[in-house]
Symmetry: C2
C-alpha cells in the first residue's frame, strides 16, 4: 500500500483556493501511484481559523469543500481535516475532525480528542473533544486516524491531559496511524516533535504517517517537516522544512526502514528560514508585494531589511533613512553600504525641520521643562509618520524592526519605531539578532561589519547609547529568557546568580510595558514564547511592577 | 444563620492589597453579626489574572493569602476563591478553587467544574476541571460551594457543557448554595444572570448566594450586582451595581422571601455607568490621575471627554483642539462650548505648519500623485504625535475616542486618531453613542446640541462627511450588529432585507481592517462582543474579503 503525504500551504478562509490546491495534489498523488493521499489538520479552512469558526457560514463552506473532495476520491482515498458540526445540543458546537473519503463517500470520521488550549492554541474555545474512537478498514488494512495533539500526551514530563486517545484506538489493532497536524514552528519544535512521535511508535509499535501544515499564517509559521516513522521507532523520513512537498511512501518499505532521513536543525539557520517564509507569506497571502523600512544604521533595521530582501526580492524593498540633529554620520554611511550590498533603493529625509515645528507648537505648553522622553518620542513618531505616509501613498507595508529585548522592556516608542504591519524580528533577543546577522553574512558580507560591531544606540539625544538605560544585552537577555520563556519568578531568577536589584528592575520593566505590546504589530513567532497571541497579560495589574 | 456578601473591587496581582481589603471586610461582616462572609472568584489574585497564572511565584503568593485569611477565620467562616495547584501530574497544573475556612483551618475546598473558554474567557487554558464534588457542614447546615460558570449550564438553549456540577452536589441535600463569581458586565448580562440563577433555584429549590466581583480590569468591567435568591425562585435582593458593598443576609428571611429588590436595567444608563467606572479604575489602578483628549468638535471626542470628567474630575481632564486648514469653524466653537460646560482647560494648536513640513519632505517622493488617504493620515498622525507629546511630558494618559462603527470598518488612522491608552467608547456603535450623549444631557446640556445634531465628518479634506465613505450609521450599525454580535454570515444578513452589495462591502471592510484593530488600545467592553480579547480573528485570511 502506498500513502502520499501532501504537505501544503493554505490560506485561512480561502475554501476555493485550498480545495483547488488539494485537488491538484490528489492528481499528483495518483500519478505517484498512491492508494491514499493525506492532507493536514483543518486543511479545508486553513489553520488557525480562530473566531471565523463561530460563523455558521464558515462551517458550511468547509462542508462544501468536503463534498468536492468526496467526488475526487474514486481512485484514491483522501484523508483530510475539517471543522464539523456537533449534532448534539449539549457541549461545544463543533468538532475538529479528520475524514476518510473513498469511492465518493465518507467512509470514516474521527474527532480530535486532545484540544490544545495554551500558548497560541485556543481549541477548546471552539471544539468538543471526541468521546468515541474507531478505525477505518481499507484494502485489507486497519487504519487509525487522529489529529495533531492526540499524539502529544506521550513523551513529556508533565502530560496536559488525563486520557490518551491512542490507548483507545489500539484496542482495534490498527496496522498504521495517520496523524493530520497543524503544528507551528519554533526553533526547538523539530527535535521535540520527533521525540514525541518516537514515544508513540515506541509504545504502539506501528508505522506512523504525520502530515503537517507548511506556510505562515500572520504570526504563526508552520514548518512542514512531515514525518514517516517506522514501527521500530526510527525516523523513516522527515520531509523538507518551509516548503510544500507531495511525497508517496510504500508501507512495506516503511516497515522495513531503510532510510533514516532527517532535516538539519541548526537554531539560527532555522530562525532565518522561518522569518523569510513569515515575511513572504504575510505579503503574498494579503496580496501585497512591496515593503518599506526605516533604516537607522543599527543592527535591527539592517537585519530586517536583509530578511525582507530575501523574502520579497530587492526590487520590492524600499528604505528611508531619517537622520536628525542627533544622528551619527555612520548612521547614514552604514545604511548606504547595506543598500549597496542588497542593491535596493533608498531615500534620505532629514527630520530636524519637522521636529522643530512640533516642538515650537508644544513649547508654549511644555514651558521651561527640560528635554526628556517626550522630545525623544517626537523624533520617533515623526519617522513613523513619514514611513506610514509612504506606505499609504504607494501601498508598501511598513515592516517593524523591533527586537525581542526592546519589546520586552518597552525600549521603543509607540506609534514611532514600534509602528508597522508586521514585526519581523521581535521574537529574537538582541543577542540572537547578532547571530542571525552573522548567519546572513556567512558567505558574503551583506550586513556591513560596522553595523554589527558598533555599540547599539537609539540616537534620540546627544551621545545616547542603549547601555545608558539598559543592562548589557548579554545579561538582560538571559534574565528575560528565564522570565518570559521559562516563566520563573524573581526569587528563582535571583537564585540563579543574577543581581537582585537588576532582576526586580527588569521584571518591572517587562510588566509595566504591557500596554505598549498590546498595541504593536503581530510578531513572527520563532520561540516557545513569543509576544502576541501566545502571551496574554493584563495591562492593569500590580504584580512585580 | 447569617451570610455576608462582600462585593469588592480587587487589583490583579495585588495580593497584599486584596488580602488587606478582605480582612477589613471580615471585620465589617463580624460587626454585622455574620456567621459566614463570602468573597468572589479568585479574590486573592483578582480576576482575570491571565498568564500570570503560569508563574509558580504567582500561585505561591495566592497560597500565602489563603494562609493569612485562615488566621482571620476564628469567629467567622470565610468563603473565598483562589487558584490552587493540581497535586496530580496529569492534567492542567491548576484548579480554580473556592475555600471554606473556619477555626484557622481549611474545612473544605471545591474546584470549579465548568471552565468558560469562549469570548473573553480562557479558563481551560489554565485549569483542570473538577471531577469530585462535595459539601461542607457548618453549624448544622449543609452548604454547597461552587464557582461562577458552574451554575451557567442551565437556563439557556444551547448548553456548552455535557455535565452539571449542581446535579452531583444536590445528592448530598445541601441547605443552600454559595456561588463565588467573576462575571463581567455587558448591557444584557444583568437580565441573563437573573434568568440563569432563577433556573437553578427553580430546579434545586434551595436558597442561593451569588457573590460577584465589582470594578474594571483593563477592558473588562465587573458590575457587582451580587444576588440572593429565595428557594421559591424569587430574587430576594440584587445588590448595587458598579460599587463595593458588604451586606449581611439572614438565611431564615431569605427562605421566607419578603424583599424582591432588583436594580434598574436601562441599557443606556448601564453603559454610561460602566464606562465611567471603566475609566476610573483604569487610571486609579495604574496609579494615574490625569487624562488628555483631542477634541475634534465631533460627537465621539465630546462624549469621551464628558465620561472622563465624570470618572476623573474636571481638574484631571485636559483637552487640545488641533484644527487644520480643512477644519470647520464650529469644530472649535463647539469644542469650546463643551469645555465651558464641563469647566475644563483646553489649548488650541494649529497643525497646518507641521502638516506642510511633512508634505514638503515627502513631496519629492510622492511626485505629482494626487492628494489621497496618505495626506489625510498625516494630519491624523500629526495630532496623535502632539497628544502623545503632551502625554509623555506630563504623564496624562491619552484617551482614544473611536466608536465601534468606525473601529469595525477601519474608518480611522493607525497611530493617529486610533492612538491612546484606552478606548472608552469603542464598544458602542455610533447610533448608541448618540443615545449615551443624550443621556448625559438628561438634566443639563453638557454636550452642546450642535455637536449632537451636525453631520459627522473627519474634516481631513475639504467638505468631507462620513456619509461620503460610509453608509448611513442607522443601516451600517444594524449590519455590523448582525455580523459582529450575532455572527451571521452574508447570506443570512441579506435575507433579513439588507442590500446585497452593501452587506458584502461592509463585511469586507470589517475583515480587511483586522490589522488596525490588532494595534489599537484595549476597549472598554459593554456589549456581548467587543473588539479585543473576546474577538480573535486572523489578520491574514481570505474570507468575505
Amino acid at each position: 500500500m502506498k500513502i502520499s503525504i501532501a504537505q501544503l500551504n493554505y490560506i485561512i478562509g480561502d475554501f476555493e483556493g485550498n480545495t483547488a490546491k488539494m485537488l491538484n495534489a490528489v492528481e499528483i498523488a495518483k500519478k505517484q501511484g498512491a492508494d491514499i493521499v493525506a492532507f493536514s489538520e483543518l486543511a479545508t479552512s486553513g489553520y488557525p481559523p480562530r473566531d471565523f469558526l463561530e460563523f455558521n457560514d464558515f462551517i458550511n463552506r468547509a462542508d462544501k469543500s468536503i463534498e468536492i473532495l468526496k467526488k475526487a476520491s474514486y481512485d484514491i482515498a483522501i484523508v483530510v481535516g475539517s471543522p464539523t458540526k456537533n449534532p448534539v445540543i449539549e457541549g461545544k458546537d463543533l468538532y475538529n475532525s479528520v475524514f476518510f473519503l473513498y469511492e465518493g463517500e465518507e467512509k470514516f470520521r474521527q474527532h480530535k480528542t486532545l484540544l490544545p488550549t495554551y500558548d497560541i492554541f485556543d481549541e477548546y474555545r471552539y471544539f468538543e473533544p471526541a468521546s468515541e474512537w474507531g478505525i477505518v478498514e481499507f484494502k485489507g488494512k486497519k487504519i487509525a486516524l487522529n489529529i495533531c495533539e492526540d499524539l502529544w500526551n506521550l513523551g513529556n514530563e508533565n502530560p496536559l491531559y488525563t486520557i490518551n486517545p491512542m490507548d483507545e484506538v489500539i484496542k482495534y489493532n490498527p496496522d498504521f496511524v495517520i496523524n493530520v497536524s497543524a503544528s507551528p514552528f519554533d526553533y526547538k519544535q523539530g527535535k521535540i516533535r520527533l521525540k514525541v512521535l518516537k514515544a508513540n511508535v515506541d509504545r504502539y509499535n506501528i508505522p506512523l504517517f504525520y502530515i503537517n501544515h507548511v506556510g505562515a499564517q500572520t504570526e504563526l509559521i508552520f514548518d512542514g517537516g512531515s514525518v514517516v516513522m517506522s514501527p521500530n521507532s526510527e525516523v523513516y523520513e522527515e520531509m523538507v522544512y518551509f516548503k510544500e512537498e507531495i511525497k508517496t511512501f510504500d508501507l512495506d518499505d516503511v516497515k522495513k526502514n531503510s532510510k533514516n532521513i532527517e532535516q538539519q536543525k541548526n537554531k539560527i539557520a532555522l530562525i532565518h528560514d522561518a522569518l523569510v517564509l513569515g515575511v513572504k507569506d504575510y505579503f503574498g497571502k494579503l496580496g501585497f508585494k512591496k515593503a518599506i523600512i526605516g533604516l537607522s544604521g543599527g543592527l535591527d533595521s539592517a537585519l530586517t531589511t536583509a530578511i525582507a530582501v530575501e523574502a520579497l526580492g530587492n526590487e520590492n524593498v524600499f528604505v528611508i533613512m531619517m537622520p536628525s540633529q542627533f544622528s551619527s554620520e555612520h548612521s547614514i554611511t552604514d545604511s548606504i553600504d547595506l543598500c549597496d550590498n542588497l542593491e535596493i533603493d533608498y531615500e534620505i529625509i532629514k527630520i530636524e525641520d519637522i521636529y522643530k515645528e512640533f516642538t515650537s507648537k508644544l513649547n508654549p505648553l511644555f514651558k521651561e521643562l527640560p528635554f526628556n522622553v517626550a522630545e525623544e518620542n517626537i523624533q520617533a513618531r515623526t519617522r513613523g509618520t513619514l514611513l506610514m505616509g509612504y506606505s499609504n501613498k504607494f501601498g508598501n507595508i511598513l515592516l517593524n524592526t523591533t527586537n525581542k529585548s526592546e519589546m520586552a522592556v518597552g525600549y521603543g516608542t509607540l506609534y514611532g519605531d514600534l509602528a508597522g504591519g508586521l514585526s519581523v524580528i521581535a521574537d529574537i533577543y538582541k543577542t540572537e539578532a547578532y547571530e542571525v546577522a552573522r548567519y546572513i553574512n556567512r558567505d558574503d558580507i551583506i550586513i556591513p561589519c560596522h553595523i554589527i560591531n558598533k555599540p547599539p544606540s537609539a540616537e534620540l539625544r546627544p551621545n545616547q547609547f542603549d547601555s545608558d538605560s539598559l543592562p548589557d544585552y548579554d545579561v538582560l537577555d538571559k534574565i528575560l529568557f528565564e522570565y518570559i520563556e521559562k516563566r520563573k519568578g524573581p526569587k528563582e531568577i535571583i537564585k540563579m546568580g543574577f543581581d537582585k536589584k537588576l532582576v526586580k528592575r527588569v521584571l518591572r520593566m517587562v510588566n509595566i510595558n504591557e500596554f505598549k505590546r498590546y498595541q504593536t504589530a503581530p510578531v513572527l513567532r520563532v520561540s516557545k514564547k513569543a509576544f502576541g497571541m501566545g502571551r496574554r497579560m493584563p495591562i492593569v495589574a500590580r504584580y512585580l511592577s
